[in-house]
Symmetry: C2
């Protein structure tokens, strides 16, 4: 069966995957770009941005696993758009098509979990955003069908990754621990007591200062 | 000036330095011994227990830094005795002399921070427990005087380490991140936003599975 994977999911030392408040100007709140600077320096990121160069060490080796073998992504509403609630009304943008421009880096169907479904959006390069109101299990069934036998990536944010971990639906979790203390924001680990019993956990430090943590499921899912 | 150091301070992936509830039978609550198994396997620990053997790798190299050069320790009340409140009354033990037997591993004055001072206790091997009601800064002044020019160790628990970090009184912080998710207990990192700005942070993984994090102050304290 295809696997369910999380890649390049960055958290602070104190476990926050985003700062606060999340806005259009600051999608990671007071964290700014600090959680992802390690990635911006990789060849993976720079080639995606049409640039030459970039590191080819351990950060890049992990980062490059993001795309290959993935047939669909599931993301939370606040990864797509930083606010909650209906899409219409003051402070919203019904024309919003995500942060990623006309050719987003997904190149697959992307299922955006929201309590406010809206029509799908098809962009260049194979990315189609579908907006669905579903449980993690239901969303995964849809994504798996759309993935055509390939793996499904859980793209975040922290609430979504946590919900899928709590529902025991993740096979591989790659977390990047960045040596900063954010103090506030949204935590990844809340409510996951005993998670370590289900995974083999490996820590790999990088010369960049981050530590890559991989959680590999010990037993196949039932 | 003598330095203020924290050594071998173990936390879970989600940042808890103890589980809950803390009792005489389970001083680390539901965490049991899982936060410290890495240390029990070291030569440092086993020689302290009068046993032969034990690992001499990176875990031991860090662990052995605990004693040399230290002239006094400051610890929280709940490291000495797992309950809060007055020493007298139901469920307390006025004869309690700590967990560590007649010859505790401190061999220096130890200042126990409590809102309920009591007479000092002198044990074998140079350990004297003093019970003081003081701010971190006041406690450090007393400990420094007792240390006779040597360094002062902040022995934990998490509330005490956090208070001393918040008061900007720590020069070296050695944290051992253990790959377990406790889900509940007492967190180390709360309220320390921006802590990384004051320290150079290095992550060293161990074959045992833990990751040693060292926080070395960038600038000497004023």
């Amino acid at each position: 069966m295809s696997r369910v994977r999380v890649h390049n999911f960055s958290i602070s030392l104190d476990g926050f995957a985003t700062g606060e408040p999340q806005t259009l100007d600051a999608p990671f709140g007071h964290a700014g770009q600090r959680l992802h600077e390690w990635m911006f320096a990789t060849r993976f990121w720079r080639s995606g941005a049409g640039e030459d160069g970039g590191g080819e060490g351990v950060d890049n080796a992990f980062a490059e696993r993001h795309g290959p073998g993935i047939g669909a992504e599931i993301m939370g509403r606040r990864k797509f758009w930083p606010y909650s609630g209906p899409w219409t009304g003051v402070g919203t943008d019904e024309e919003w098509r995500g942060w990623w421009g006309p050719n987003p880096p997904f190149h697959t169907p992307v299922f955006v979990l929201t309590h406010h479904p809206r029509p799908s959006i098809e962009l260049e390069g194979g990315t189609v955003f579908h907006f669905i109101d579903a449980t993690p299990k239901e969303a995964l069934a849809q994504a798996r069908e759309a993935a055509g036998g390939l793996d499904v990536r859980i793209g975040g944010g922290p609430t979504i990754v946590r919900d899928f971990l709590a529902a025991d639906l993740i096979d591989l979790l790659h977390v990047v621990q960045v040596p900063i203390v954010l103090g506030r924001g949204v935590r990844l680990w809340d409510g996951l007591e005993g998670l370590d019993e289900r995974y083999a956990i490996e820590a790999t430090p990088s010369p960049s200062g981050v530590t890559h943590l991989t959680f590999t499921r010990r037993e196949p899912r039932a």
